[in-house]
Symmetry: C2
């Protein structure tokens, strides 16, 4: 009953996608997330359904069974713990760790996650600000809200990113934005929902709606 790399990636994708919208995940959505075709997704979902890791066919869309969700959370836990090790111990930067963790998350050993967890001092969040499931699979609420939901003029602090791709993180690096950076939304452009923001009380720059939806912040009073 050991899972293949592909199976694990499907489970994780379903987990993340149904986490946001809370609903069942469509073939099309999964296909886009995994960069596979709909045909491939369907055949894998059949396989996962047979293994009782996924509920499908019912209406439209897939969801994880209890066992499937447990497996997915385990992968996410490993992924985020490895990211902490890569960043804190091996001195990899924000934009490098995700792709390496994407490989490390598939290393199997019953005790590995727990040993890592202990060695790292039971971290609560990974370097991108995402909560690390604990040994029992409990996940704390995500910390912070999307920058896109912030009011204009309020002093904000970056607590995480929604998108961990190296493309996005390299962009942030160029803008000198990291966890702890100060942001302020100066204005929203009605036309396309883009915005002008101020970074670390420095100069103003213009960013897209997509950008605003990829950063997690908290308000720091004011």
């Amino acid at each position: 009953m050991t899972r293949t790399l592909s199976e694990e990636n499907y489970l994780k994708a379903i987990f993340h996608l149904s986490r946001n919208s809370k609903e069942k995940v469509s073939i099309t959505t999964l296909a886009a997330a995994l960069e596979n075709t709909a045909a491939s997704v369907i055949s894998m979902l059949k396989k996962l359904t047979a293994k009782e890791l996924v509920d499908y066919d019912k209406k439209k869309g897939a969801s994880l069974t209890t066992v499937g969700e447990k497996a997915a959370i385990d992968i996410v836990r490993k992924h985020r713990l490895w990211e902490v090790l890569l960043a804190e111990k091996l001195e990899f930067s924000w934009e490098e760790i995700h792709d390496i963790a994407e490989q490390l998350e598939h290393v199997h050993h019953p005790e590995l996650a727990d040993r890592l967890d202990k060695f790292l001092g039971f971290p609560q969040f990974d370097p991108h600000g995402h909560p690390i499931p604990d040994i029992k699979g409990n996940i704390s609420k995500i910390f912070g809200t999307l920058l896109s939901e912030s009011a204009v003029g309020v002093e904000l602090e970056v607590v995480g990113v929604k998108d961990s791709s190296s493309m996005f993180l390299n962009y942030l690096k160029k803008l000198d934005i990291k966890i702890g950076s100060k942001l302020k939304v100066e204005q929203i452009i009605d036309f396309d929902q883009s915005a002008v923001i101020k970074i670390n009380n420095g100069g103003d720059i213009s960013v897209s709606r997509k950008f605003l939806e990829s950063i997690l912040i908290t308000s720091t009073g004011n």
Copy 2:
């Protein structure tokens, strides 16, 4: 030009097998080492030959090209560095680390080995006493000689194992033999080349020839 897990395991197997005997490796030998059939080995060797990682067909047997050897050493380096991390940082024991490292060695990132190396303080040997290739691919001579080559009555110290399988290491654990343990060969049985040995100046036990060929020792004077 990224290598698959299978390709990497073949390269590593050829490397280890040609290291001992210094000669080209036969299909049969490789098949046994990889627990695959001869037919499978041949088709993979053709593939690796086409990729110019292996020289084959010539006479009988396979050997690594310069590029292939570089790749193999890189995998061995990662394997052993990960073993050090698993043992020293994550507190895994002798017999657990090899199988996990077998997975970790296939994680790809150009800087990963070097970062690990630095974090671990540039270890020279892995927890089984095997030399870790340095950043340039240089490998120190293996430390110690086989227990099977020791004279009777000489005080010896365990410096490593030749066989890192959990089956063998669990056996050693039961015998309370680890790196640093004291051994003495009391007598060799002519009939089957088995031996009676003394462990840590304790009781005598009888072990097979295969056992004697799986332990690396140094003489400690006397």
